[in-house]
């Protein structure tokens, strides 16, 4: 074609004039074109003053998707894949009176692979490693060799390849070679760093069961890699997932009742928040410092939850003060608008009494290990008298809602659900008050001074450490902590090592890293743990199985739609919804003893022959993808479904599936007897999805799962 063109040009310029040199255009550029790498071509024109250029690929101006495209400036972009014939001709045509052109031939070749990093990470399930290769120029047909043997590679993208490999013990790197095939075969060598996990599956998953709203495989993997201490450090630093104030005007879905909006925000935070430890501690605190939307406005509860979450890792005194002045607690236990008693009246004792009984000291004097002190006759010794309750009640008078905007403050102010309460000293009882341990608040003090005096009196009471620490342990680790365990954590409450009292971060670290908390990592028969209460149970299962919210997936406004609220519909029959305890005594008592036994097990206060049946139904709903407004994939094409049918050998596949569930739900500690019963049951099923559902149901309805241990 090029020759023909030249012939035409020669013919036209023939004639009687003196011969002049033919105009020429010479095309230069690479003759090997690599997929994924653009190539600049250049045209050099001689014997002509013309400059207008048109570029063609295989004779088509601008090229095509199949053969590659070329810009008017000669920049060639290869096609996505090698065309049937990988030879192309790049032509430049000069638009003169008599056009002329030049060409060059080139071949399209596979890209040159480049490895920028490679990492082999020990898998959560099984003994294999996941090799992750990052770089450029990867193809679906790229081949990977690890340590000289071919490894089946999964093509993720042109910048990522993944393989499952085995790594000999003790290796810190393994050689990795990536080869792109013909045409233009090219090889790159690199070394993959081997990341050996720092802690076992058992340790990672148990820690997450205690410290979060439920382990996920990703989180287990992460904790294994970074280790316990680094994980806690990350979590202490994680910013609070803040529940937004319920919008004004009220979202349509909550027009008649704002509680669904508030509860939806809570479920969203605990199911999806990255600040899992903070949210879990806030949950424990919310079951100690109880408020309930049974009698307080839900708008005040989002604020209250943020207070607990923000203060979860701070100082206990700050927490106590913020709780005390929160409009939610003020409303719930009537410190709000509690006026100095007039003639014939007493001060409202509600907050004063429960602050002592439930939030700080408890009823009886405690030893530092949480056991009761006894008097000479063997009887427990009360911390406070009725007179002291009334003294604290008077100390807490004079507080009302914060004024809204620039409004003038008065006693009482209109509702303000988001700002801390404020003091109006004219409503405060200024007589002297005799508090605990011989402390007296002198007469004439302001509301604020009396408040800090009263809170300081309680904060410094020696009961607080053992009383609060034991309950935190019960909520997060074990119903029956040994007195020595309580004592060790309470000692950190008393002094964090720098002389500070009430350092919650130090307390939480001590609690979760204590030898008793970690004992069952390596000794599964260590007798501890606690029953998963209904809200934890559903959150744990939903996180493990990766339930997704349909509105969230669709990109809808989940806050305005209260999209996560549906979850609570499945726990309310079991006696729980977020922030809706029947009384300040929480859904269950920390002192609850299982009937007919001496076993202290708080959460069993809600476990009985009625709720046990309801939990079975809930498990069925969960595995049958029946949680309204959520989706879970347990089909045969899901990860578990594939595992359940991969080899075609019913026993092998069932065993692999149950082992995976054992990691997801039982820290890899499923008893072998249990494993074999479930495996033989599901091996009789032929539908992989049914295998997954039934196996999951059997795991999550077992007492061995219901009791987190």
């Amino acid at each position: 074609m090029v020759g023909a063109g030249l012939l035409v040009l020669a013919g036209c310029s023939g004639g009687g004039s003196a011969p002049v040199a033919n105009p020429l255009v010479t095309v230069t550029g690479a003759t090997q074109l690599r997929l994924g790498t653009p190539q600049q071509f250049t045209a050099t024109i001689t014997n002509s003053s013309a400059t207008a250029l048109t570029w063609q690929v295989n004779g088509i101006t601008g090229g095509t998707a199949t053969t590659g495209t070329i810009t008017s400036a000669g920049l060639y972009t290869p096609p996505a894949m090698i065309p049937t014939s990988n030879a192309v001709t790049i032509t430049a045509i000069v638009g003169a009176t008599v056009p002329f052109q030049g060409s060059v031939s080139a071949s399209i070749l596979n890209p040159i692979p480049v490895v920028t990093s490679a990492q082999a990470t020990q898998s959560v399930i099984g003994t294999s490693y996941a090799l992750d290769i990052l770089g450029t120029g990867f193809l679906p047909t790229s081949q990977v060799q690890v340590g000289g043997s071919t490894a089946a590679a999964t093509y993720v993208s042109s910048t990522e390849l993944m393989c499952t490999i085995t790594v000999a013990a003790g290796l810190t790197t393994v050689p990795v070679v990536v080869t792109n095939p013909d045409p233009g075969t090219m090889t790159v060598s690199s070394n993959a760093q081997v990341l050996t996990v720092k802690v076992s599956v058992q340790t990672a998953a148990r820690l997450l069961d205690q410290a979060t709203f439920g382990p996920t495989l990703n989180d287990i993997n992460h904790v294994q890699l970074v280790g316990t201490t680094a994980y806690l450090t990350e979590q202490f630093a994680a910013p609070t997932t803040v529940l937004p104030d319920i919008a004004t005007p009220t979202p349509a879905i909550c027009l008649n009742n704002t509680i669904p909006c508030e509860q939806s925000e809570w479920w969203q935070a605990v199911l999806t928040g990255n600040d899992q430890l903070r949210q879990r501690v806030a949950f424990a605190l919310s079951e100690i410092f109880v408020v309930s939307t049974n009698s307080v406005n839900a708008r005040s509860v989002t604020t209250y939850h943020n207070t607990l979450a923000n203060d979860a890792f701070g100082n206990f005194y700050t927490l106590l003060q913020d709780v005390t002045l929160s409009p939610a607690m003020g409303n719930y236990l009537n410190m709000l608008n509690s006026y100095k008693p007039g003639n014939g009246q007493i001060a409202n004792e509600n907050y004063a009494r429960e602050l002592m009984q439930l939030f700080t000291t408890g009823i009886y004097l405690l030893n530092s290990d949480g056991t009761q002190q006894l008097d000479g006759s063997g009887n427990p010794i009360p911390v406070y008298t009725e007179t002291q309750v009334q003294a604290f009640a008077r100390a807490f008078t004079g507080w009302t809602y914060a004024p809204i905007g620039a409004a003038t403050s008065k006693f009482t102010n209109p509702a303000n659900y988001t700002a801390p309460m404020i003091a109006i000293d004219s409503a405060h009882d200024m007589t002297a008050k005799v508090l605990l341990t011989g402390t007296t608040l002198p007469s004439g003090q302001t509301s604020t001074t009396d408040l800090s005096g009263a809170l300081g009196n309680l904060f410094n009471h020696p009961n607080v450490g053992p009383f609060i620490c034991k309950q935190l342990i019960q909520h997060m680790v074990a119903s029956n902590p040994s007195p020595a365990y309580v004592a060790r954590v309470a000692a950190v409450f008393a002094n964090d090592g720098t002389g500070k009292r009430g350092n919650m971060r130090a307390v939480i670290t001590a609690m979760l890293t204590d030898v008793d908390a970690r004992a069952a990592d390596t000794s599964p028969n260590f007798d501890g743990g606690h029953l998963r209460e209904p809200m934890l149970y559903i959150a744990n299962v939903m996180r493990a199985l990766n339930f997704t919210n349909k509105d969230a997936v669709a990109g809808n406004d989940v806050v305005a739609l209260a999209s996560y609220n549906t979850v609570g519909n499945y726990t309310s029959g079991l006696g729980q919804r977020p922030y809706s305890s029947g009384s300040v005594f929480n859904f269950f008592s920390p002192e609850y003893v299982i009937p007919g036994t001496k076993v202290n097990a708080p959460e069993f206060g809600q476990e009985n022959t009625a709720t046990a049946v309801l939990r079975l139904t809930l498990a069925n709903t969960l595995v049958y993808n029946g949680i309204s407004n959520f989706n879970v994939d347990l089909s045969k094409t899901s990860a578990l479904g594939i595992m359940a049918s991969k080899t075609g050998n019913a026993t092998t596949d069932s065993g692999n599936l149950v082992d995976a569930l054992g990691v997801m739900f039982m820290h890899g500690q499923m008893p072998s007897q249990m494993r074999s019963v479930i495996v033989s049951h599901i091996a009789t099923l032929t539908d992989p999805a049914m295998r997954v559902r039934v196996a999951t149901y059997l795991v999550i309805t077992s007492s061995f799962y219901k009791v987190e241990h």
Binding site: Q345, E349, R353, G529, T597, Q606, S703
Partner: protein, 448 residues
């Protein structure tokens, strides 16, 4: 007029005493001998939070109402809104309780005045003397709830009085029982727990077994495997405990759902959107199928909360009483429909009553002795039992100065009176109520 009120109560008490002294023990023995041929049920309605008795049962005579309204100040109910009791005209019920007032006047309900937790009969002077043994942690919700339920000196006693009744007599009365003697429709509570016996818990309206979507064959197989997993001894205490509860749950759910399969629905209309009514309706349905359950004695527990009215009391308590009064009445009517109204005795319990003196926040605070309602065809209704307190701050019945009445009747007496009717023999009383001997040879109140 105060004298009149007193003498009325005295009369009622004497009548009760006379009755109990002679006939009750033999009655109890006879019923025990009858074994499984008759039927009796006790129904406990627990008012969580401490119902303010002072605004539930109010003096109506001029002097009585006058001193009431003076001291109660902002909490005093207007006399015009109270319902005067025809059978006890010096008294009235809160205006939100017309159904209970009618039951009282029709002799189907009685009131028991100033009952509270006591270890032994206790006077104000004794209470104020150091060294007198009184119940532990008076005025604490949790402790007083437990002490009402366990009829013991402290909440640390781990069995409830109903549970101990079941421990003692369920073999005699329910030898063929397919479910425990005690049913709770309001979760597990100390009241229901014995040393050996545990209750069946029922979620109102959810009597049956669990749901399963896998199809009949696989559901049956799945359930069999799930139950097999409960048999393993993991050696972990809490896992073992949950295995036991879950095993019982499978068994009771099957028994109950089989029993109610083909019953005629009760036609008595229960108030809707009323938590207590839903619980009582479930209890009525279980009573209806008592024969299929193989029981001749049953104790039921239900409860309703939010009585802790430290503020906005008149409004809050009014709403609560307006809900429980029609619920209780509907339940009584349903027992008539089932032909068992004289075999079912319903009674209230609560943490405590509230301070007669108001607080500065339109509410009242935790107190002690309280008035309670007993309802049923067997109840000697239309009467007030016990001794109504003198409504004076710092007066003869005030434990201090805020109107926390020292109970004139022990809650253990109240419980034992119910137990006696239920069929507990005199010889069995001390095992169930260890403190009962402190209340004399005849501790019973005679209201049923």
């Amino acid at each position: 007029m105060g004298v009149n009120r007193r003498s009325f109560i005295k009369y009622a008490s004497l009548a009760a005493a006379g009755n109990a002294a002679g006939l009750r023990p033999f009655g109890a023995l006879n019923s025990l001998a009858q074994g499984a041929t008759d039927y009796k049920a006790l129904v406990c309605v627990f008012l969580y939070g401490g119902n303010d008795s002072n605004n539930t049962l109010v003096p109506f005579d001029t002097t009585g109402y006058g001193s009431y309204s003076t001291i109660r100040g902002p909490l005093a109910l207007p006399q015009s809104g109270l319902i005067q009791l025809a059978k006890a005209p010096n008294f009235s019920l809160n205006g939100n309780m017309p159904e209970i007032a009618a039951l009282f006047d029709n002799n189907a309900a009685a009131l028991v005045a100033n009952v509270g937790t006591l270890v032994a009969p206790t006077t104000k002077a004794q209470y104020q003397t150091s060294g007198t043994v009184v119940p532990t942690n008076l005025f604490s919700h949790s402790d007083q709830q437990l002490e009402w339920q366990n009829a013991a000196k402290s909440g640390e006693t781990q069995t409830g009085w109903a549970g101990r009744i079941a421990d003692t007599i369920s073999t005699s009365y329910n030898p063929n029982g397919l479910v425990p003697m005690i049913t709770s429709v309001a979760g597990d509570t100390l009241f229901c727990n014995g040393a050996a016996s545990t209750p069946v818990s029922v979620s109102p309206g959810n009597l049956g077994g669990s749901s399963c979507n896998e199809g009949a064959t696989e559901c049956a197989a799945q359930q069999a495997t799930a139950q097999a997993l409960l048999q393993f001894d993991s050696g972990l205490s809490l896992v073992q405990q949950d295995n036991t509860i879950t095993k019982n749950a499978y068994s009771y759910a099957k028994t109950l759902s089989d029993a109610v399969q083909s019953i005629t629905p009760i036609t008595t209309v229960f108030p809707s959107a009323n938590g207590l009514a839903a619980q009582l309706k479930q209890i009525a349905q279980i009573i209806q199928v008592r024969a299929a359950l193989g029981v001749t004695r049953q104790i039921f527990f239900c409860g309703v909360g939010n009585f802790d009215t430290h503020s906005d009391q008149v409004n809050l308590q009014g709403n609560l009483l307006a809900a429980i009064s029609p619920a209780l009445n509907a339940f009584y009517q349903s027992t008539k429909e089932l032909g068992v109204s004289d075999k079912v005795t319903t009674f209230t319990m609560s943490d405590f009553s509230r301070t007669f003196q108001p607080n500065s926040n339109t509410g009242s605070d935790h107190a002690w002795g309280a008035h309670h309602i007993v309802m049923g065809g067997a109840v000697k209704g239309g009467q007030l039992y016990g001794k109504f307190p003198t409504l004076a701050l710092g007066g003869p019945d005030d434990s201090g100065t805020n109107g926390r009445w020292v109970p004139s009747t022990g809650s253990v007496q109240y419980a034992a009176t119910l137990a006696q009717w239920f069929g507990v023999a005199p010889s069995q009383m001390s095992a169930i109520f260890p403190n009962i001997a402190s209340f004399g040879a005849n501790p019973y109140l005679g209201f049923v």
